[in-house]
Assembly symmetry: C2
Homo-oligomer: 171 residues x 2
DNA sequence: TCCGCTATGTTTAGGCCTAAACAGAGTAGC
DNA sequence: GCTACTCTGTTTAGGCCTAAACATAGCGGA
């Protein structure tokens, strides 16, 4: 029934291999577990709405960029955390389903702009509230103070990790 | 260069669709971003060690279960967050690489116990410290207090979300 | 003008995962 | 002793992703 907690994992390593550097486990492991819990739950909610998480992410980025709801694939790759190849595939799938439209970009360079179709716009309007509403209910167990503190620490950690993992260095 | 921050995403939704329930964004989004940053970084560290994250996870669970380093596939599925089918595939891959061994379980029911080979044991000993050490350095930007607070809030949130997503109900 | 460099996208090969269909091993009740 | 049911694992079909190989499109210097 109960899954292993991060604290138990760290304790198990210390018991089996005293001296193992386990300081990060109680931070990193729950982040992975939560990411998976949120992802699975979101997938379940979206299945009912006839859309998948990857497509929702794509349409969301375009939708909240505001009118005229158009972005180049380069911008899409920058604003989502996936590779250019993944964007290319997402766009192809969404285009096949009639949710977006591709058109050649005009300003210099070779470029492609992706824009929402009416169907795509309707689909995102109909699903974003249910997804975000559901997620708000999942974090409702924390008090306002706890949520603020957690958000602040996560923001700090994200900035730290991004700095330490990108480019050279690392120590 | 800079990626969009969760706070900017929430602000964008409020600008475009006033009233969108964005309370969860500054919690859920950074968790996903961090999970991906950690996963990518771990994959990079492991590539050098000749092992992948899925196999490391498998061997780790068996290793820290203690002597005699044997678990049934059912136990493996329970202790990792993946499906039984995924375990079956992970075990098949690891067996092909000579890292684990499969043998019929004796106690009642049909069951299969997975045990570490010497090669598997050596591989996990040689990589766990480098992975955990690297991750410790990634979270080193937080003070001891901040780490403790973050760990506590993440543990609480994980318990909450698990409770709210499992089984029926949800509201 | 020509050649090549750089910025952009797309395609391909392969990895890992989930859901669901399968299959085998015990167990329980008749 | 049989049949049905319930655990356990494995296999299959399909999805999404990354890395890397491929294409193109403009620009720029000689």
């Amino acid at each position: 029934m109960s899954n292993t907690t991060p604290a138990e994992i760290a304790a198990a390593w210390q018991r089996e291999r005293p001296g193992t550097p386990t300081e990060s486990i109680e931070i990193v492991t729950p982040i992975w577990q939560l990411a998976k819990l949120f992802a699975d739950d979101r997938a379940r909610v979206l299945r009912a709405a006839g859309i998948d998480a990857a497509t929702l992410d794509l349409l969301s980025v375009i939708r909240r960029s505001g009118p005229p709801y158009r972005l180049t694939t380069r911008e899409l790759a920058r604003r989502t955390l996936v590779t250019a190849g993944a964007i290319s595939q997402r766009v192809a799938r969404a285009e096949r389903e009639g949710l977006i439209r591709r058109s050649p970009g005009e300003t210099g360079r070779k470029s492609v702009v992706v824009s929402l179709t009416d169907e795509g716009h309707a689909l995102i309007e109909g699903s974003v509230d249910s997804v975000l509403g559901r997620e708000a209910s999942l974090v409702a167990g924390l008090s306002a103070d706890e949520k603020a503190t957690l958000a602040r620490l996560l923001a700090k950690l994200t900035a730290d990790v991004r700095r330490r993992t990108s480019a050279a260095d690392g120590s």
